[in-house]
């Protein structure tokens, strides 16, 4: 009964989404206010039915209803309750349901928080989002319905959730990632609206910015959580593999980063308009491409739940439809939304343009590397497979990011329209000298070795940090005392600086952990020990420990620091009853400056095991930096100018019609 209710509400959500995608849009062109006004209630309707549907699937999981095929494949009576709930999005169908729920939630959020939006704009935006919901609801209902039943042969027991996914990381990683992915649909809907109306002014950019920031912040956290999960749950202490599934999440993030910066220019200066629109389309298209690549099983990965050509084909159709239709619209309408302001070669506009080019080029490089194996195979046949490894991606990505960081500080300290070179020199000469000098001296003094990549990375990170300090100093110089000065700066300014600081923290984290990690793969018998720095790891042996739905071999490793007892690490090797799958659970002592990591490999006879023991300095900073970035994005949203409900929202003059419509809708 409950699964049928879930299915039924899914169909209801689809029906309302169809209305949402047609009625308000038609209302715009027939100038029918009632039809436009229908957009808000329709959004609420879609959202409510999606929530009910999602709740029904969760109910089926919590009550072990194995007559639902999806539940039977992804759950088990022995599975702990909280994993039963998160198993809802542990497979293809359920994660798609979560995806659509997210679209509905963002749509609903737009309808709630856009009171200041003119009615015709709101109607268009919500209609475009309705179309996206329709596409994915159709896809779900026809190819991947999570409520499909196994009524005649109801299994007595479920197959169990993939052990890799029985973990805290899975509880939080997919929702955040999807919030980010799907969040770009808002920017996309605004971009399509801009193309339809031909109106792309400062007000438009101001409406779009908070939504883009929010999506970007969620995506940042989602990617960071995924990387963290790979670090401790895939068991081997790596945190980024340039795996296709990582790349497809990373590309929308990079383009989203470019979009955030380009939106700033569009809002403040009224230029880069069509470029901004193109980036918004690209960000969402790349999100869809990610969904397609991951879901179609084109690429081998833990995320490729189902290898089903039909699903792949339908997704590809949606993808081509979205990209094709929006680019067509773009080609027709982009000339209309042209910018007119002028700027010089050393203005902030140009530095942000450089930022955009670098980010887009990096994205293109990653896209090429990700798709290259597919292209190669398509051209040369199945027997000639290639894989593109980390050296390719590192060679492309790292130099581009180095240049990006150089311009980061220059861009944020420079001024709109025109910045003289002598001004930049005056502001940044000391910053440059200090960051290079300290960037070389600090590592040299601490480690007493010459390591050029470390010098470069530390200098770049300090270049950002000193640049931030210098900029704050300049901006607060004329404000009486320092506190008055700090208080006068806007939240969006702080948001930017926090996110930039996050970038510096990530650079340090990545570089220091890559160069100074000690990684030992050793065969150890009970009583054996190895030394890493001031730590001594003593292997005490392996014992058998029962778990709720698995048995574990638990290793015990006593760690001494400078000869004194310090802590005990207990990595496990679990074998799950239902599937017989074996899963390594690393044990990690997390610290702000270093992680101690131990994982059990495989037994090698006589009680001896292969152990992987890592000393990883500054690895925490990678995720900490990503959280700072997300925090910066959120801080910027809180800026009060996004909440001002002034009717003359548009500072740039061509706003006559917009202002009238605002009056109407108030």
């Amino acid at each position: 009964m409950i699964p049928e209710l879930g299915n039924f509400t899914l169909v209801l959500a689809l029906s309302l989404a169809v209305l949402l995608s047609v009625v308000p849009m038609a209302g715009v062109y027939r100038n029918n206010e009632l039809m436009m006004r229908l957009s808000r209630p329709l959004c609420s309707g879609v959202w409510v039915f999606m929530v009910i549907s999602f709740g029904c699937l969760a109910y089926a999981f919590l009550n072990d209803d194995f007559s639902v095929a999806y539940v039977a494949r992804n759950s088990n009576t022995l599975l702990p309750e909280h994993y039963k709930f998160t198993a809802v999005w542990g497979g293809h169908e359920g994660s798609l349901l979560l995806w659509v729920l997210m679209v509905a939630s963002w749509t609903y959020a737009v309808s709630l928080f856009s009171r200041s939006l003119p009615l015709d704009i709101l109607a268009r935006v919500l209609s475009v989002m309705g179309i996206i919901s329709v596409c994915f609801l159709l896809f779900m209902l026809f190819t991947s319905n999570p409520f499909d039943r196994l009524l005649l042969n109801t299994p007595a027991e479920g197959t169990d959730l993939n052990p890799l996914l029985q973990d805290f990381g899975l509880i939080v990683h997919p929702p955040f990632l999807y919030m980010g992915y799907v969040g770009f649909s808002v920017a996309y809907a605004f971009a399509i609206t801009a193309l339809l109306t031909g109106k792309l002014d400062a007000a438009w950019a101001r409406w779009t910015r908070p939504w883009t920031n929010a999506a970007w912040a969620f995506l940042s956290i989602g990617i960071a959580l995924g990387s963290w999960w790979a670090y401790y749950e895939l068991g081997w202490g790596g945190w980024w593999f340039w795996d296709p599934v990582e790349n497809v999440a990373f590309m929308p993030w990079l383009v989203g980063t470019a979009l955030i910066h380009s939106l700033a220019v569009t809002e403040k200066r009224g230029v880069f308009k069509s470029w901004t629109v193109l980036l918004a389309i690209a960000a969402f298209s790349l999100s869809l491409l990610g969904t397609f690549i991951v879901r179609s099983g084109l690429i081998t990965s833990v995320h490729a739940f189902a290898v089903d050509p039909e699903r792949g084909l339908v997704l590809l159709t949606i993808l081509l439809l979205v990209i094709g239709a929006s680019l067509f619209l773009y080609a027709l309408r982009a000339p209309v939304v042209k910018g007119s302001a002028s700027y010089t070669v050393t203005s902030r506009e140009v530095f942000l343009l450089i930022n955009n080019i670098l980010l887009v080029v990096a994205t293109a490089g990653i896209l090429l590397g990700t798709l290259y194996p597919l292209i190669h195979e398509a051209i040369n046949g199945e027997a000639n497979m290639v894989s593109v490894g980390p050296p390719y991606f590192n060679t492309i990505f790292l130099p581009l990011m180095g240049v990006l960081v150089l311009f980061l500080t220059v861009g944020s300290i420079s001024r709109w329209k025109k910045t003289s070179l002598s001004y930049l020199k005056q502001q940044l000469a000391k910053v440059a000298i200090a960051s290079i000098a300290l960037g070389i001296l600090l590592p040299l003094v601490i480690t007493r070795e010459v390591n050029i990549p470390i010098f470069i990375a530390v200098s770049l990170a300090l270049w950002i940090v000193f640049g931030i300090l210098r900029d704050i100093q300049v901006k607060t110089a004329n404000k009486g005392n320092i506190f008055q000065g700090l208080f006068s700066l806007s939240l969006s300014y702080y948001g930017m600086q926090i996110a930039h600081l996050g970038m510096a923290v990530i650079i340090l984290g990545i570089c220091l952990t890559s160069h100074y990690s000690v990684e030992e793969d050793v065969r150890m018998a009970p009583g054996d020990s190895i030394d890493i720095g001031s730590y001594q790891f003593i292997f005490e042996g392996v014992t058998r420990q029962p778990g709720p739905n698995y048995d574990a071999d638990r290793g015990e490793i006593t760690v001494l620091k400078n000869g004194d007892p310090y802590l005990t690490l207990r990595p496990e090797k679990r074998s799950y009853f239902a599937t017989g799958a074996v899963q390594t659970e690393a044990d990690i002592d997390v610290g702000f400056f270093r992680d101690l990591f131990a994982a059990l490999g495989d037994p090698r006879g006589d009680g001896a095991w292969v152990l992987r023991i890592h000393f990883k300095p500054f690895v925490f900073w990678i995720w900490f930096g990503a959280f700072l970035m997300a925090g910066g994005g959120i801080t910027a949203i809180l800026d009060k100018r996004y909440r001002v409900r002034d009717k003359a929202n548009s500072r740039i003059a061509d706003s006559g019609k917009t202002a009238d419509l605002v009056m109407e809708s108030v």
């Binding site: 993939n162 068991g235 081997w236 795996d243 081998t300 990965s301 833990v302 490729a304 290898v307 002028s342 700027y343 010089t344 070669v345 140009v350 343009l353 450089i354 080019i357 670098l358 887009v360 080029v361 293109a364 490089g365 090429l368 590397g369 290259y372 199945e382 027997a383 000639n384 497979m385 290639v386 894989s387 593109v388 490894g389 050296p391 390719y392 991606f393 590192n394 060679t395 492309i396 130099p399 581009l400 025109k418 793969d521 050793v522 065969r523 090797k573 599937t579 017989g580 799958a581 074996v582 899963q583 390594t584 994982a599 490999g601 495989d602 090698r604 006879g605 292969v610 152990l611 992987r612």
Partner: protein, 151 residues
């Protein structure tokens, strides 16, 4: 203030600069970062260039895994496409899904003795799912079975 045309010129120059940078980076990086995939049969036939790092895929031959009596964390096993075998040597913990009779993909290079020295063993696939590389390896071997293996 710059004229409109100069602005456009600046933008075009940036784009050219950016694409030139990107293309040269890509060409350079592709040379370094690509691992070509070979099957055990191709390796036995000597079609792999010397000293090049590449990727091998096949099944772990039943009864071929040797863990004891070797140095440290080393492990040896045969990878097979049921037509030819290649000896693989690896040092480190084996992935959870590594098992005799199951598919395996490894990155590495051949040494002087013709042993594949693996730097990484990949097993990012689950129980039911065979990686594309392993499948291709077996398919390729099957295609040649008639002529090569059962002559």
């Amino acid at each position: 203030m710059l004229a409109h045309r100069q602005q456009k010129l600046a933008i075009v120059l940036f784009i050219i600069f950016g694409s030139a940078l990107a293309i040269s980076l890509v060409l350079y990086a592709l040379k370094e970062g690509i691992n070509v995939f070979y099957t055990p049969t191709e390796i036995s036939e000597g079609s792999v260039p010397d000293g090049q790092s590449f990727r091998i895929g096949g099944m772990v031959k039943m009864g071929s895994v040797i863990k004891q009596g070797l140095d440290g964390a080393e492990v040896n096993f045969l990878t097979t496409d049921f037509c030819n075998d290649v000896l693989v040597s690896f040092s480190g913990p084996l992935p959870d899904l590594f098992r005799e009779g199951q598919g395996v993909v490894a990155d590495g290079a051949l040494d002087d003795q013709g042993v594949f020295q693996a730097t990484q063993i990949l097993a990012k696939h689950d129980e039911n799912y065979m990686s594309a590389e392993v499948k291709a390896s077996l398919d390729a071997a099957e295609g040649e079975n008639v002529e090569v293996c059962h002559q």
